[in-house]
Symmetry: C2
Subunit: 282 residues, 2 copies
């Protein structure tokens, strides 16, 4: 595995592979890799000639009171895992190489960036879209791999790719979960063992809401009430930021079920913000 | 010359040339081609294997009260001129192909987009940057050619290209002028013959301001006064939107001269808005 830290060199390297007709699979990460990330790498490895992973904790997607400074890091463990999965190139730029002295250009995906998580994390998806655009231009991937766990992120990036005619295929991979159902997240490390045990209520809520939808005779407003009640019943759930049934393209709350329905939740358990989602087909 | 109207086909065509190791020179235009555009095409022809020109009057860079509907068009003349210059591909998408049913994603180059012309044309440079980003992703140029006449546009695009790690070399070409000095512009067609004769005051003002700077003993504030007085002395100059000495990177008014100094002017002559500029080296 080759480690590249300079954008210009990464770009030049990718160009050489493209000129040779190679496909490049790209897995952008913020490090602290778990089995969710690894599932993306495995899929990229299966589908492409070259696999490039990046580790970059992107400062511009964190709010001033968020956990940029304390974001989990495990550089040695990460590199070992990527090497083991047969990653060809690890792109690991520092802030200065990514953003230089100043950044003036921002990509704003209007409307959908302000829904759900965006309402609680102003500027977050502008930071995500801007960084992902830069990474795509540097790495020049044929395919890029993202986890469904960050559903809104996949919607924002898909819209950006379509709107800006970016020549990359997005591959959205299923959420990977602990045995008890808790969605894998680098931030799970923040949870105490009590909190972690409680956090299973999120997946439980998604599952029972999904059953409620599939059983028929319900509507999105009832399902939302059911979800909130179930989450509230857990004493360690401190705050419900959102919970309900949403349109998977616009991320707006739905008045009636459609063919595909997005169940999505963001809660705080202790001081840790956790999100999860599920697509329910009718 | 091949004419392509569909983005996906344009992108696929460019990819094939890139895989063959060809360089692509790109001249994006809004049509109504004059000698300024042709100078860009000639330079692109000299420097690249493949030359692609585009004609697309970009609706999102026009304000609601601006001249989108009446913007000059000369499709037959344009195609003849491009053919004559040995252009390989003319990319000519329609609005629907460029923007589809909706556009959610916008590129904002903060601060410099709000100076000079941006102060009088809110949203203009967001529209320019967004369209140019799309065109770059579709055409995949090695080099892209722009005229210095739209100086702020070149600054905004350069910043976008740097900030977003876009893999394209920008080539800024000198302003082409009528014999009397009037900068070539598709909008000159709006001028009556009286107005056109008066418009030479713009270039005259740039020239005399340049001499004032080079003669020494002056300062930017004095030069600005000189420029405004000279422009005001012409009875057909209806409005001076800006005139003065600016930093060529930040586009801010300068307090003291530097090595390179940007003289820039925007005026209305009759109902026609005209811009021009000159770089003065000390």
């Amino acid at each position: 595995m080759e480690t590249i830290r300079i954008s210009r060199i990464m770009q030049e390297t990718s160009k050489q592979y493209i000129q040779k007709g190679k496909t490049i699979g790209f897995v952008p990460t913020m490090g602290a890799l778990h089995r969710g990330h690894i599932s993306l790498v495995k899929r990229a490895r299966n589908e492409n000639d070259i696999v490039t992973a990046s580790i970059f904790v992107n400062p511009i997607q964190f709010g001033p009171k968020e956990d940029f400074d304390s974001y989990p890091k495990d550089m040695e463990g990460d590199m070992e895992k990527l090497q083991k999965e047969g990653v060809d190139i690890l792109f690991m730029p520092d802030n200065k190489n990514m953003y230089g002295e100043r950044l003036s250009t921002y990509i704003n995906v209007r409307e959908i960036s302000d829904k759900l998580c965006g309402a609680f994390r102003p500027g977050h998806f502008t930071g995500v879209a801007t960084a992902v655009c830069k990474l795509f231009n540097i790495v020049k991937p044929s395919r890029a791999y993202f986890g469904q766990k960050d559903f809104q992120q996949t919607v924002v990036i898909r819209r950006m790719v379509q709107d800006m005619n970016m020549d990359v295929e997005l591959v959205i991979c299923p959420t990977i979960r602990e045995k008890d159902g808790l969605a894998m997240s680098s931030r799970n490390i923040y949870l105490s063992s009590n909190e972690k045990a409680s956090a299973v209520v999120i997946y439980g809520t998604l599952l029972s809401a999904s059953q409620l939808i599939k059983s028929g005779g319900s509507n999105p407003a009832d399902v939302k009430k059911h979800m909130i009640n179930k989450l509230m019943s857990n004493p360690l759930v401190k705050e419900i930021q959102y919970a309900g049934v949403y349109d998977m393209d616009t991320l707006e709350e739905m008045a009636e079920f459609k063919k595909e329905n997005l169940l999505a939740i963001a809660v705080k358990i202790g001081n840790t913000r956790l999100i999860d989602n599920m697509l329910v087909e009718l």
